[in-house]
Assembly symmetry: C2
Amino acid sequence: MARVSDTRERIMDIAENAILEKGFSATSIDEIIAAAGITKSGFFYHFADKTALAKAILVRYLEREDRIMDGFFERGRELAEDPLQAFLVGLKLFAEAMYDLPAAHPGCLVATYCYQERLFDRDIREMMREGALNWRRRFLAMIDEIEQRYPPNDQVDREALADMINAVVEGGIVMSKTLNDPRSLGDQVMLFRSYVKLLYASREAAA
Amino acid sequence: MARVSDTRERIMDIAENAILEKGFSATSIDEIIAAAGITKSGFFYHFADKTALAKAILVRYLEREDRIMDGFFERGRELAEDPLQAFLVGLKLFAEAMYDLPAAHPGCLVATYCYQERLFDRDIREMMREGALNWRRRFLAMIDEIEQRYPPNDQVDREALADMINAVVEGGIVMSKTLNDPRSLGDQVMLFRSYVKLLYASREAAA
DNA sequence: AAATGACTGTACCTCGGGTACAGTATCGCG
DNA sequence: CGCGATACTGTACCCGAGGTACAGTCATTT
């Protein structure tokens, strides 16, 4: 039909939404193919099994999230020269984007997979690990830059601090979902921002 | 057999471990009954269906977590009179307990359920919400007590701050699992502690 | 001795994740 | 123009998991 199959992408779109909404195992192939308007054979033409689908969606998801995240912090650097200010601006842009989501955050695919992990193979676990380490590296670089100018007001493990934004996002999503409150996620990001501010702000400066 | 069925409890123990390890849907009734040494009929004698089992496990889990959490902060109050210090001691005790876990945290049942939520009914979602609100109330009370003595060094939403510990724990577990690093969770709790310290410590006091 | 609680055993149904494989429509290419 | 590759459809079948239905059993309690 289509030159380069857009059916594959369509399957992934439908499946990703369904997985984020109700989990991987609760998302049946039958419902995906019904929504995509194809047959079961068509599905298995594109993906060897459900796990292959999960893997393909995860790859795409991680790339997309990376680009979005980079966007906020690049914009932060455009708007502020100081590394601390740039980081704080990036965090605020991120938090605002989270506040602007119409409903509770649909959920993080990594967390969704994480809680079904035995379903999946080494590949997927390794990809998720790489994704997390990638975020760590990104934020660690920013933190290092900040620390060159500002001594921290408390002794903290820099790696853990770099991971904290990831943790806060994952935790914020869980809170958002359990409380059914769309604001929770943004709130948590803003609290992390407040922590960074207090951690690096010159002590004589007022809040 | 047993006067008051301990089979029910045994089923719940086995199922809880399995669910935390690999998710709810990946845990089959067949494997549970095999481990418990009973038949399928025996299982359905105790639980109407798999969801009823999930519910029973969640109730027990929430109560247990509550007791454990209360323990740390009660001990904190025993060890320190000042509300801020008591809170910080409680957090440290909690973090240490997390560091002492032999492997990566098995996972939070709430998050596990959260990411399978459409599988479950209103009841379960309401219970998880109540659990989160319960934690919020608990920590909000502590924060209020602290604020009576210490003005915060940054403007923060107190409710969100009370929720943050829950978020940090959930996020820390996800990080612990994706990175396969048992220390992540404790690290995240310690960072939250550092935040509380910076937020309420008198500005002239050194870190 | 009867009733109750805690099961076992057998049989059967549905749904979801596949597997197997033959057939078909469309396209680009030589 | 025909060939092969790509992108599917259709049919049929298998297995495991979540149940349902219900009769039977065996120990304890009253």
